[in-house]
């Protein structure tokens, strides 16, 4: 047998490859399919009436089931935001840009959204925004069907209207 190697092995490669096929579930499938038709669906808590977007099977807050799907607006209010100054892998956007939480009209929680058509220094809580959809024929039933949000030009919403929808 030959002598043991003198050079130590400092690292080994160990590549992890795990493919998944996620089940969307009937509830989210309806939500995703509706995006293709420029409609945004939420689920309504049977106890409190609060509307969750994307739809949830139950309210995490009241624990009651959500038995009803309702349509919410594609316009809403920027509740909180940040200004992104570093590039994100897979997102080829001109820096800096605004990423925000948007409470859609009719929804009781906000969704994450990219805001374009705005100078970062103009971003503010309460600013009204609207969805910019991908053109007909290009929507596939995914979150990317909303290309981004942009200011709608309406007067700002009062803080009280978004305090519980951050």
């Amino acid at each position: 047998m030959s002598a043991p190697p003198t050079e130590p092995v400092r690292y080994i490669d160990s590549n992890v490859y795990l493919p998944y096929d996620y089940v969307a579930g009937d509830l989210k499938a309806l939500y995703l399919r509706a995006l293709k038709d420029r409609r945004i669906l939420g689920s309504k808590c049977s106890k409190t009436g609060k509307v969750f977007v994307p739809p949830l099977p139950n309210s995490p807050e009241s624990f009651a089931p959500c038995n009803e799907l309702v349509e919410v607006s594609d316009q809403g209010t920027m509740t909180t935001f940040c200004i992104v100054n570093i590039p994100v892998i897979g997102r080829n956007l001109e820096l800096p840009y605004v990423a925000a939480s948007v409470a859609l009209d009719g929804a009781d929680i906000s969704i994450f959204a990219l805001i374009l058509g705005i100078k970062p220094e103009d971003a503010r809580m309460g600013m009204r925004v609207r969805a910019v959809w991908k053109p007909d024929g290009e929507r596939t039933g995914s979150h990317d069907d909303i290309a981004h949000f942009e200011p709608s030009g309406e007067p700002d919403a009062p803080l009280e209207s978004i305090l519980h929808r951050l």
Partner: protein
């Protein structure tokens, strides 16, 4: 010691793949059913513990999704174990012994059909040697079966007989996946999974979600007319490296059983009426029977896996908790396939490759400590 009982249990029937619901959507109705079963609202639960695996879920912090369906307001003490949910139940039991809480909700869930379970379980092995050569659960189970067969002389026909008995029992369990019985001769004709294990000797991977509720004495009697009391419990883990253990045996299952029996005041496994084992292969069942002090095959002692056991359907991350639930059903008179006059039982859960880590419970329909 504090008397703690199982007061409710709900399980989604096993399916191969549920294409209509996410894992937490399967779980939510089970939580509602379990709470209804013991007549309380979420407010009555002090502590919630989940057993699931982010690698099975295929998402980072996947377990937080379960908090949404357990109810997240007002916040409860909450814990998650990256283990079979039976271990989550043990954790809750320990907290109850410490007097930290009186009631606990235990959930187990996972959708192994979304990923590739064998590939995922390769990551439980060390990345330098065993993981790197591509061992997965099927192959480590086969290595163990081979070691057991070499030591004991058990053959293909013996494994087939064990599997056939489980399949016959599974046919009487409405929640089982494989409800078609199969004879030993039929199972001996199934193709190899990994030799010496045939497909008929290996637990089919299923999806389910489970909720079990524990309550301490004082509350348990109010929540259930037939509480099933925990008499003893212990868990032991062995070395991860397969080469460092005698794979033909399960020393840790033996030690856990010994300690659990001691706590329960049970002399031998023959003092109980039924045993539910988390045996993912027919060989594992024989190894576990031997470890807890029962003959490796044949009838005569306690009923073994009257639910059909994992060989009639096994849901990753819930397999062990289902054993506890099946014992609860038997001892509380709620089983669809009752074992006559069942008063005391053993439930077993395992984790890791080739029975690396074992948890043994003894339960009864009377209080253990006065």
């Amino acid at each position: 010691m504090r008397n703690v009982a199982i007061v409710a249990y709900a399980q989604a029937p096993f399916v191969a793949v549920d294409e209509h619901h996410t894992s937490t959507e399967i779980l939510y109705p089970q939580i509602r059913r379990a709470l209804a079963d013991c007549g309380v609202e979420r407010e009555a639960i002090d502590y919630q513990v989940g057993g699931s695996a982010d690698y099975v879920d295929g998402r980072v912090f996947g377990f937080v999704a379960a908090v949404d369906v357990m109810g997240s307001w007002p916040p409860k003490q909450d814990l998650h174990l990256e283990m079979d949910a039976a271990f989550a139940a043990h954790y809750a039991w320990i907290r109850m012994q410490a007097g930290d809480c009186d009631t606990a909700m235990i959930v187990g869930y996972g959708k192994p059909g979304e990923g590739e379970l064998n590939r995922i379980l390769n990551l439980q092995l060390d990345p330098y040697y065993q993981g790197a050569v591509g061992l997965d659960l099927a192959s480590t189970s086969a290595l163990q079966a081979s070691a057991y067969m070499a030591r004991t002389g058990a053959g293909d026909a013996d494994l087939a007989e064990v599997a056939a008995r489980n399949r016959a029992a599974g046919a009487r369990n409405p929640d089982a996946w494989l409800k078609q019985p199969a004879t030993a001769a039929e199972l001996q004709k199934t193709p190899w999974a990994v030799e010496p294990l045939r497909q008929g000797y290996v637990a089919p991977s299923c999806e389910s979600a489970v909720c079990l509720i524990l309550a301490a004495e004082g509350k348990a009697e109010k929540m259930s007319k037939t509480p099933v009391w925990i008499h003893g419990v212990d868990q032991r883990a062995e070395l991860q490296s397969l080469g460092s253990r005698d794979l033909s045996k399960s020393a840790s299952a033996g030690m856990a059983a010994c300690k659990a029996f001691e706590m329960a005041g049970v002399k031998t496994a023959n003092d109980v009426d039924l045993v539910e084992l988390s045996a993912l292969t027919a060989a594992e069942e024989m190894i576990l029977r031997e470890a807890v002090g029962l003959p490796a095959r044949g009838d005569g002692g306690p009923a073994i896996n009257p639910s059909g056991g994992p060989l009639a359907g096994s849901a990753a991350m819930s397999t062990g908790l289902v054993r506890l639930g099946e014992v609860y059903r038997q001892l509380s008179g709620k089983a669809a396939n009752p074992v006559k006059n069942a008063r005391r039982a053993i439930a077993h859960a395992a984790q890791g490759h080739a029975l690396q880590h074992n948890l043994v419970w003894v339960l009864g329909n009377e209080r253990r400590w006065s």
